[in-house]
């Protein structure tokens, strides 16, 4: 009876520890580093580099801002998010592992998003509102998902997935407006 109570207590404490430590990550990967940068203004730059299971977020409001998130090889199951409002903003997201998720949202004019994922089972998504925006998504290897939504005028989108011998990739591109250009290469 006493042993049962001890075992129950240990399990309860272990469960509390797990619940506290595992509070972020993607698709079940929990316990990670968190980095968040928020910049209000113009001509700002933000850079986050992570080499762990992690979650990165950059929020910028203004013009001529640059946001970069780089998540390295050991960052399996990580999230990278960039939100930019204004004009002539640039967003870079690079992930080189498995089951990562990258999301970029830009509102304004002449913004640019570049998302690169090297690995399999990754997901990338970009949404742009405005005019003269450009979205580029590059995914190498297999079983990746890419999606772009552009609403406005004179927007351009490029989606490149895989190299020779890869399979299981899917892309989704939706453009609403005039003067749009889309290129999908698989």
């Amino acid at each position: 009876m006493k042993g049962l109570w001890i075992v129950t207590g240990v399990i309860t404490l272990f469960g509390c520890f797990i619940a506290e430590a595992f509070d972020c990550g993607y698709i079940g990967y929990r316990g990670c580093g968190i980095a968040q940068i928020e910049q209000i203004g113009s001509f700002n730059s933000a850079y986050i580099e992570q080499a762990t299971i992690s979650r990165a977020s950059i929020l910028q409001e203004g013009i001529n801002n640059i946001a970069t998130i780089k998540q390295n090889l050991s960052s399996i199951g990580s999230n990278a998010e960039i939100f930019q409002q204004g004009s002539k903003n640039t967003a870079y997201q690079m992930q080189s592992a498995m089951q990562n998720f990258a999301y970029a949202q830009q509102t304004g004019f002449f913004n640019s998003t570049t998302q690169i994922q090297v690995g399999s089972n990754n997901s990338v998504s970009a949404i742009q509102y405005g005019a003269g925006n450009k979205a580029t998504q590059i995914q190498l290897t297999s079983y990746n998902t890419a999606s772009v939504i552009q609403i406005g005028f004179f927007n351009v989108s490029f989606q490149i997935q895989g190299v020779q011998g890869t399979n299981g990739n899917s892309s989704n591109l939706m453009q609403v407006g005039v003067g749009k250009v889309k290129v999908v290469f698989q």
Binding site: A21, G31, G33, I34, A35, Q36, I37, E38, Q39, I40, G41, S42, F43, N44, S45, A46, Y47, I48, E49, Q50, A51, T52, S54, A56, G62, N72
Partner: protein, 176 residues
């Protein structure tokens, strides 16, 4: 069995009774990181220009230190080091003015670091190379820069937050 229950009730009632007799704000000084109380406090306040402040706290096991630097002026330098078995520390730097520099180094576990800068061309640097760290930087102005580096190859439960408002500011966060 009744004796055991009474003993447990007595043990549990001790913290409640002690809390009831504490004055508002607590019985102990509010220092130390993440709820660790009972610590050594160091505070430097400088008003003027071209000043330099430095706090070094080498804690032993189970130590908790609190360091605070406040500077108002131009081209001031602040530095807080909490190294060598520094367990549960907290460091804070607040600067207002131009061309100020803030540095915090914490090589321990369960540390906190906070930097606030208002003005122009200020630079904040925070280095935390262990587990369970937290670093937060707030900068308001023009041409400010913030750098936070956390963790080792063994990982950690680090969290970094940077908030900047103004023009031509830059922020860098490295977690490994």
């Amino acid at each position: 069995m009744i004796k055991i229950i009474l003993a447990l009730l007595l043990i549990l009632s001790v913290p409640v009774i002690s809390m009831a007799f504490c004055p508002p704000g607590g019985c102990q000084s509010p220092c130390g990181g993440n709820g660790y109380y009972g610590c050594t406090e160091a505070e430097i306040v400088q008003i003027g220009s071209l000043n330099q402040a430095d706090i070094t706290q080498n804690g032993g096991s189970f130590s908790s230190n609190l360091a605070t630097i406040s500077q108002l002026g131009i081209a001031n330098k602040a530095s807080i080091n909490q190294h060598i078995f520094a367990d549960h520390n907290e460091a804070s730097i607040a600067q207002t003015g131009m061309m100020n520099q803030a540095n915090i180094n914490q090589y321990g576990d369960t540390n906190d670091a906070f930097v606030t800068q208002n003005g122009f061309a200020n630079h904040a640097s925070v280095g935390q190379y262990s587990n369970k760290n937290l670093a937060s930087t707030v900068q308001n102005g023009i041409g400010n820069s913030s750098s936070i580096s956390q963790g080792t190859q063994l990982g950690g439960a680090y969290t970094a937050t940077v908030n900047q408002s103004g023009w031509a500011n830059s922020a860098t966060v490295l977690q490994k």
